[in-house]
Symmetry: C2
Subunit: 260 residues, 2 copies
C-alpha cells in the first residue's frame, strides 16, 4: 500500500505568516501523497470582534451562531485556505483547497447536546474516500478547511483535529496512513512550562496513568483521544509535536508518538 | 465532441437567496457537463463598509487594495462559493467549489495600467484545461469564484465575465461549449427601461451599429466583447439574458444570442 501523510496544523501556524511559509516549504518537499488539514486561528475571532459578533467558547469549541458560521466560512474556507494554496502553487506543488462540502467530502450533522446548544457545529458522519482517492490519483494535494455540511444545504463548523483523524482513519483501508498533529508545543509535555519535557511515546496504559496524574488535561485530551481513534481505525502512526519540525515529526526524532 | 455549458451568474442572483435557489435548481437538472462561474454581489461591498475599508470603482472594476482583496477572497471564495456548493449537494449534484488558485486553474498577472492603479486586479494568462477536464471526467460540476493567482503566491481579483469567457474558450478544443451570461435583465435591451425590448440576436455588424446609436453602452460593452472573444475562440454559442430563465436561455427562446 502507498504511504499517505495526513497533517494537521493549528491556529498558531496559520496566524503567523513566517511560520506558515516555513511549514509549507517543508510540506512541499514531502515525497508522495499528503493531505493538509488546517485549523482556524485568531483571524476569525478578531473579525468577529470587529463585526461586533460576540464569541463564546465551551470546552474549546466555538459556539457557532449564524453570523459566526458566516465568519468562519469566510475566514477558513476563503482567506486561509486560498492563501495556503497560492503559496503551494508558488512552490510548484499542485494543490486544491476544499471544505467538507466540496465533492461531498465530509458529511456531518449538527451536534446534539442536551446541555449546550453549540449552534452550527458539526459532528462527522462520513468521509467521501472515493473522491479523495480520485484527487490523489491526479497527484493533487488536498488542503482542507474545517467546514463540513449536513447534506441538506447547511454548512457546519467542525473541529480540525477530528477532521484530520476521521480522514486518516477512512483512508487507511487503501493507504498506509501516518497522522501528524502539528501544534505550538514540542509534543505532549510532562511539565507544560518546560518544552524540554516531551514525553516521547504514549500508549493506552501510560495515557490512563498520565490522565490520573493530571499531566495530560484539558485540550490535550481530545487530541490524544483522536490519536487513539485513528490507531484503532487502522492508521499506522500518530505523532504530535511542533509544526515547524515537520520532518523530525515524520521521521520520529521529535514530538510524541502515540502507540496502542 | 461532448457538450459543455459554461454559465455565469452575477451579483443579482448571488445576493438574492430565493433567486439563487431557483437558479441552482435549474442548474442541477442540466444534463451533461456544466461549469458555473459566479460573481461577487453586494456582500463584499457591505462587509467592506462595516469594516471601514473604503471602496472605489473605476470602469465597473473594483480597485483592489490589500484589505479589499482579503474581503473579496473571504466573500467570493469562502461564503458565496461554499453556500452554492452546499445547496448543490443538497440537490444531489456533486460539485466542487474552486478559485483560480486551486489546481492552478487560472493564472493571471496584476493589471498593468499606465493611468490607474487597480491594485490586486488580475488579467488572465492561462487556464489549466487539463485539470478542468480531469474533474469533468469524474462527473463533478465546477463552481468557480472570481479569484485568480499569479503563480508567485499572490491572489488576484478577476472579473467573472472574463473568467467565464476564458474558460469557455479554452475548453472549446475538447468540448462543444455553450456560454451563458445570466444577469438581471431579459437580454440586451433596445430600450434599457423596457424589458420587452430584447434584441434577440446581435452579430458583428449590428453590434457596431448599436454602439454607434448608443443603444449598447457602458457595462454591456465588455460583456459583449467577451462574447465575441468566445465565439472567435471556438465557443459554439453565447447567450445573454435573465439568469432565472436558464432553460429558455439554453434553448434559445429567451435572451440575446450573439453570433459572428
Amino acid at each position: 500500500m502507498e504511504k499517505l501523510y495526513v497533517i494537521k496544523i493549528g491556529g498558531n501556524v496559520v496566524d503567523n505568516s513566517a511560520l506558515l511559509t516555513n511549514f509549507l516549504t517543508a510540506f512541499s518537499t514531502i515525497e508522495g501523497q499528503a493531505i493538509l488539514v488546517h485549523g482556524g486561528g485568531k483571524l476569525a475571532t478578531s473579525l468577529a470582534r470587529t463585526l461586533g459578533v460576540s464569541q463564546t467558547m465551551v470546552e474549546g469549541r466555538r459556539i457557532t451562531d449564524g453570523e459566526t458560521l458566516k465568519i468562519v466560512t469566510m475566514v477558513y474556507a476563503g482567506y486561509i485556505n486560498k492563501n495556503i494554496i497560492a503559496q503551494l502553487q508558488a512552490m510548484h506543488v499542485n494543490a486544491i483547497g476544499l471544505s467538507g462540502v466540496d465533492g461531498n467530502l465530509i458529511k456531518a450533522h449538527k451536534r446534539i447536546d442536551a446541555n449546550i446548544d453549540f449552534g452550527f457545529v458539526g459532528d462527522i458522519d462520513e468521509v467521501n474516500t472515493g473522491f479523495i482517492h480520485q484527487q490523489l490519483l491526479n497527484n493533487t494535494r488536498l488542503v482542507i478547511a474545517p467546514i463540513t455540511h449536513d447534506g441538506a444545504g447547511q454548512l457546519l463548523n467542525t473541529n480540525a483535529d477530528t477532521i484530520a483523524q476521521t480522514i486518516a482513519t477512512a483512508m487507511s483501508d487503501t493507504y498506509k496512513v501516518h497522522l501528524v498533529y502539528g501544534f505550538e508545543k514540542e509534543g505532549v509535555l510532562r511539565d507544560v512550562t518546560n518544552e524540554g519535557s516531551v514525553i516521547s511515546s504514549i500508549n493506552n496504559l501510560t495515557y490512563s496513568q498520565l490522565k490520573k496524574e493530571n499531566v495530560i488535561f484539558e485540550g490535550m485530551i481530545p487530541k490524544i483521544d483522536n490519536a487513539f481513534l485513528a490507531l484503532h481505525g487502522g492508521v499506522q502512526s500518530v505523532i504530535i509535536g511542533k509544526a515547524e519540525k515537520l520532518f523530525e515529526l515524520m521521521n520520529g526524532t521529535a514530538g510524541t508518538t502515540i502507540t496502542n
